[in-house]
């Protein structure tokens, strides 16, 4: 019963938000995300000896039920969604938004969709939430976005939607193979998928995987991402990069790897190589970016590439690493965007060639930038390191040929990552302040938001045990 609250709270407050005027939406959003976070924290505190479930009949004629299921992985992602949403709300408290009611309404609806995606244990329900999360984001980008928002969001929407439809086709096909009556429940889908002959699993794999690959995104399905991140308003960029890309990875772990083991085994090498190429490719491109948002977008592609590679290496420690890193990457990239939006707000530009001197003009902001950037390049004792170490470990242990070479190539990412990240710090924080713009250092709500992020970075970097324990059980089950 508690699970439904995770979806209902943001959904209902989202609907209500459309009717509010003025600043009411802000308070509503803040309240809603606090409530949701509290519930998510409560759920994550559970002992996941057996998953928490919730099932109600929904559309029996289609064979689908409204069934939710929370295990370590999904509750971890719900917790992440809760934290990130709260930080977004906190950071936005003092920022003016046009048509606030609608803006916050869409944000909350998207949050409801995300929660649903992470909790659904019925394939059709999963698909519904998958779209519910996407559609509000489309409106947010296209109405509150930057100059080039219309073509960019159009492309983003079409691209991801095409993927979603292929996935839907794949899921329907699977549901038709279920033993007995048509069913979309996770158990039945898994049963149907695993009993399919290998050659069927092989083509079905791509039908379903493409949607996830676009969402993550995996090289070469990534080109929607930098443009969309660049054009979206920051809260939306955060939702997209911290949470929605995790939908792709989560979906791989829940709806692909257990469902089509033979297909996954067959294509693993291909996906791993694509991902690893993507790491080096995206890192190289990040080096030559001058717009901070684009730089972070490409860095995120590299990071997701590492996680995706580990997902297909069939190693328990790698899987566990993904769980940890999904959370940590979500926290860190939220921090990065928060800082970027503060830079943009204060300096009026994101062009690094025009920035500099933040360390003298706004030292607290510069310190936050440095800490979050270091977490982003996985310096030990920040949260990023734990996950990355486990991911490399997983790739290293992969049962495919050349696994050591693949790990080393993926490892080039940590060198290139240092290059572009330190470039960014140098160009924004260091140097002489010079410009006549008077830069305000952090305001109270910004302090609070960044404090949440930075405490999590350091705490989970030094003592990752809670996060590891939460997700240990699920990781163990992922391996063939």
């Amino acid at each position: 019963m508690i699970l439904i609250l995770l979806i209902l709270i943001p959904f209902l407050t989202g609907i209500i938000s459309f009717t509010t005027k003025g600043d009411g939406a802000k308070s509503l959003g803040l309240l809603s995300s606090m409530l949701t976070l509290a519930v998510a924290a409560y759920v994550s505190g559970a002992n996941f000896a057996a998953p928490i479930t919730f099932t109600k009949p929904w559309i029996p004629i289609l064979g689908t039920q409204f069934s939710l299921m929370a295990d370590g992985m999904s509750s971890m992602l719900c917790l992440l969604t809760g934290i990130v949403s709260l930080v977004v709300m906190i950071m936005n408290v003092n920022k003016p938004v046009e048509r606030a009611g609608a803006f916050y309404g869409f944000l909350l609806l998207s949050q409801a969709g995300l929660m649903g995606v992470f909790l659904a244990s019925d394939a059709l329900l999963f698909y519904v939430f998958w779209e519910l999360a996407l559609i509000p984001v489309y409106f947010l980008c296209s109405q509150w976005g930057g100059e080039k928002r219309i073509p960019v969001t159009f492309k983003f929407f079409i691209y991801t939607f095409v993927g979603s439809l292929m996935m839907l086709a794949g899921l329907i096909y699977l549901s038709l193979q279920t033993p007995g009556v048509t069913s979309y429940s996770w158990n039945d889908i898994v049963r149907a998928g695993t009993s399919l002959p290998a050659d069927q699993q092989m083509w079905l794999f791509w039908l379903i995987f493409i949607a996830f690959a676009i969402k993550m995104p995996v090289f070469p399905f990534h080109t929607w991402q930098p443009d969309t991140y660049e054009q979206s308003p920051t809260p939306v960029t955060i939702i997209l990069s911290a949470l929605m890309v995790k939908m792709g990875l989560f979906a791989v772990l829940r709806w692909l790897i257990p469902v089509l083991p033979a297909g996954v085994a067959y294509w693993s090498e291909t996906v791993v190589i694509l991902s690893v190429v993507g790491i080096v490719y995206a890192s190289c491109i990040a080096i030559v970016q001058t717009d901070i948002k684009r730089l972070i977008a490409y860095s995120s592609i590299a990071h997701m590439g590492l996680m995706c590679a580990a997902a297909f290496t069939n190693s328990a420690v790698g899987m566990h690493g993904i769980m940890v890193q999904m959370f940590n990457h979500g926290i860190n990239i939220t921090g990065m965007w928060v800082i970027v939006s503060m830079i943009e707000q204060r300096y009026g530009t994101r062009d690094m060639t025009k920035l500099g001197g933040m360390a003298s003009a706004a030292p607290a902001m510069a310190i936050a930038l440095v800490i979050i950037s270091l977490a982003n390049i996985a310096l030990p004792l920040t949260n990023g390191f734990v996950g990355e170490f486990m991911l490399f470990n997983g790739i290293f242990r992969a049962d495919t040929a050349g696994h050591i070479l693949i790990m080393v190539v993926a490892g080039l990412g940590i060198i290139l990552g240092a290059v572009y990240t330190l470039n960014m710090i140098q160009r924004t924080a260091y140097g002489d302040a010079g410009s006549a713009v008077v830069v305000k250092d952090l305001s109270v709500n910004e302090y609070l938001g960044l404090a949440i992020i930075i405490s999590l970075i350091l705490f989970l970097g030094v003592y990752p045990k809670p996060l590891l324990d939460l997700t240990a059980g699920v990781a163990g089950m992922m391996v063939r």
């Binding site: 080109t223 080096i287 690493g321 030292p363 004792l381 170490f389 060198i415 330190l422 045990k465």
Partner: protein
């Protein structure tokens, strides 16, 4: 006492947190005091630990468990510290010299507006360095390893308004990361083969020396050594260290001479059980060390920046240490770490005192004759020079003598090359001494007017370090001169093997080395005095000297073959592969669909006849298809 080992890194951590959090409101003096006291407290505990480890009752390595770090399935990595002879010796070096440099900094950085921040960074550095040597497994070592790299980065770029400085900081971090990738791969190899990263467990699983050969040992040792190349500035990853001189001078003394750069030596000494099984990797260590010692020494001959001379000298001395490790003389390598920490910290701090007196001037072309105005700095610097040059019975003599002897036993060619590098060392150090302190003053009138000896906070650390540079070698005086291998015995407790010099002819070799050293140094001294104790010094070089003055153009080479190509490749990927290629393809698909839609639209003509025609056509097609399908 050894159970309280966690206090050793804890104090600097607290110091860092206090100064780091309250840096804005903290008065400068208080910030300095907090920084110094934190290290002093660590030093006192380290002393206690050292004597406990030294006592006969101390049984083997002590592992102090703190908490679970990463636990996943079979992977189980704890946050543990290991106390044994090796780590307790490093504790003393780090906190002892660290404390002196902290005290020195209170004066040296006294006028800097970022002083509190400086002490926060310095404490963070000591904390990381302590983690590095205290960790009971490779992962904790790696945490410290990258941590010191971060602090090095922050302190090289301490004066962040200067673009050149921040470039140097970036270069240091990135080059270290290249090494770190090697370290990471080495760790994963260990984990893959032995299922653990804890030293004791790993080494317990290794076969007894030389009973088994496997290329795996070489691979692991090689990967770890790549990490050491980065951190300890060996060929090919050494070019960051001279640039790192952009940082404040005490930082150069602490991080880039006495402690951090010796991490690679610590790592190999710690992993000696592995390296013993990896003869190829060990040979490579020796060759790289020797080559680095020579290359850096030749460059140091023609540098005109006082700190650059010392920086290349550091690179060269680190090469000597690796050479010692490479010939299997692990304790000798560690011994040279210790003596080098004394005299190189002394030399850097002395250089700092000179730079301070000269109002920030670092170019030795504009110095000269400073011995009269800075007597304490002069005497202590002289002692440092004698020690590094290997003047008999100074600490540097004892340790370098031991290295040369070990190398002689191993390979004669290596020995002559190493001896040549030692000669070069004496030459460039005497040249530096003459140019700075002898002859006549070559700077501006203004500078001459301001020349003054530094305050006590600077001179006292100099004096203490000078004393240690003189007598620090006594722990290991050769038997020939009535000494005992105290250090060898001590490190033997941690299982670090020493090369035992015995047998006939040893006495002869010792005497030859001793005699050659005395004569050689005298000749070099007189020659450099004639050449460099002058009141006019040009300092512009041509021909081959220019090649050396320009560091063999290695930076330019790296720029041409690595940095620029990567930049160009990235640009090409961004412009062509990304925008025109992949994104172009995606957009192309979209455009094709649109174009197709536009064409299909024309089919909607509105004429019923056309529709019926199409319908009939479709039915025929279906029937035909169905007919053949069924068949």
């Amino acid at each position: 006492m050894a159970n309280l080992v966690y206090l050793v890194p804890l104090f600097p951590l607290i110091g860092f947190l206090i100064n780091g959090i309250f840096w804005k409101r903290m008065p400068k003096t208080l910030g300095g005091v907090i920084g110094c006291v934190a290290i002093l407290a660590s030093f006192i505990i380290s002393l206690g630990i050292f004597f406990e480890v030294k006592s006969a009752s101390f049984q083997g390595p002590l592992v102090v468990k703190l908490f679970d770090f990463i636990q996943s399935g079979n992977l189980n990595i704890h946050f543990d510290f290991q106390v044994d002879a090796l780590s307790s010796l490093f504790l003393l070096i780090i906190t002892g010299i660290g404390f002196l440099i902290h005290v020195y900094s209170t004066s040296y950085m006294g006028h800097d507006e970022g002083m509190v921040k400086y002490f926060a960074y310095l404490n963070l550095f000591v904390f990381s360095m302590l983690l590095l040597v205290l960790g009971a497994n490779y992962l904790i070592m790696f945490i410290g390893w990258e941590g010191v790299g971060l602090c090095s980065y922050l302190l090289i770029g301490f004066w962040f308004k200067n673009r050149d400085y921040t470039n140097a900081a970036k270069k240091a971090f990135v080059m270290n990361r290249i090494g770190d990738l090697g370290f990471l791969v080495g760790m994963l190899l260990i984990l893959f083969n032995y299922g653990t990263l804890a030293y004791q467990d790993v080494f317990a699983k290794l076969p007894a020396a030389h009973t088994e050969t496997s290329s795996m040992y070489n691979w692991i040792a090689l990967c770890l050594f790549i990490g050491a190349m980065g951190k300890s500035a060996q060929i090919p990853l050494y070019t960051w260290l001279p640039d790192a001189m952009a940082g404040p001078t005490p930082v150069s003394a602490l991080i880039h001479a006495a402690t951090m750069v010796t991490a690679g030596i610590y790592m190999i000494a710690r992993s000696h059980a592995l390296y013993d099984l990896a003869p190829m990797a060990l040979d490579l260590v020796a060759v790289i060390g020797l080559a680095t010692a020579l290359l850096a020494a030749t460059i140091a001959l023609y540098q005109n920046d006082i700190k650059k001379v010392l920086a290349y000298s550091t690179v060269s001395q680190l090469g000597f240490m690796f050479l010692a490790l490479g010939v299997g003389a692990y304790t000798t390598g560690v011994f040279h770490v210790m003596t080098h920490a004394f005299f190189k910290a002394l030399l850097f701090l002395g250089a700092g005192s000179v730079i301070h007196a000269m109002g920030g001037e670092q170019d030795i072309k504009n110095m000269g004759g400073l011995r009269k105005k800075l007597p304490i700095t002069y005497i202590t610097f002289l002692i440092g020079v004698l020690a590094i040059a290997g003047f008999p019975f100074t600490s540097g003599f004892v340790s370098k003598d031991e290295i040369l002897l070990a190398v002689y036993e191993h390979n004669k060619v290596f020995f002559y090359l190493a001896a040549f590098a030692a000669v070069l060392t004496a030459i460039y150090m005497f040249r530096l001494l003459m140019l700075v302190f002898m002859g006549g003053f070559r700077g501006t009138h203004d500078q001459e007017h301001h020349l003054h000896e530094s305050p006590a906070a600077i001179t006292i650390p100099l004096i203490i370090l000078a004393i240690f540079s003189l007598v620090g070698g006594f722990v290991q005086i050769p038997h020939l001169f009535g000494g005992h291998d105290y250090l060898n015995q001590f490190l033997g407790k941690a299982g670090v093997p020493a090369v035992i010099h015995e047998g006939p002819g040893l006495e002869m070799k010792e005497w030859t080395l001793f005699g050659a050293t005395c004569v050689g140094l005298l000749v070099i001294f007189l020659a450099t005095k004639k050449l460099f104790a002058v009141s006019q010094f040009d300092g512009n070089y041509s021909g081959f000297k220019k090649v050396l003055a320009n560091k063999w153009y290695v930076d330019e080479l790296y720029d041409t073959i690595i940095v620029k190509p990567i930049g160009a490749l990235s640009g090409i990927l961004d412009k062509f592969a990304e925008k025109a290629g992949i994104d172009g393809l995606v957009n192309g698909v979209g455009k094709t669909v649109r174009w197709g839609g536009d064409r299909m639209r024309l089919l909607q003509t509105g004429q019923v006849g056309f529709y019926i025609f199409i319908m009939v056509l479709g039915m025929v097609a279906l029937f035909t298809l169905g007919f053949f399908w069924i068949k």
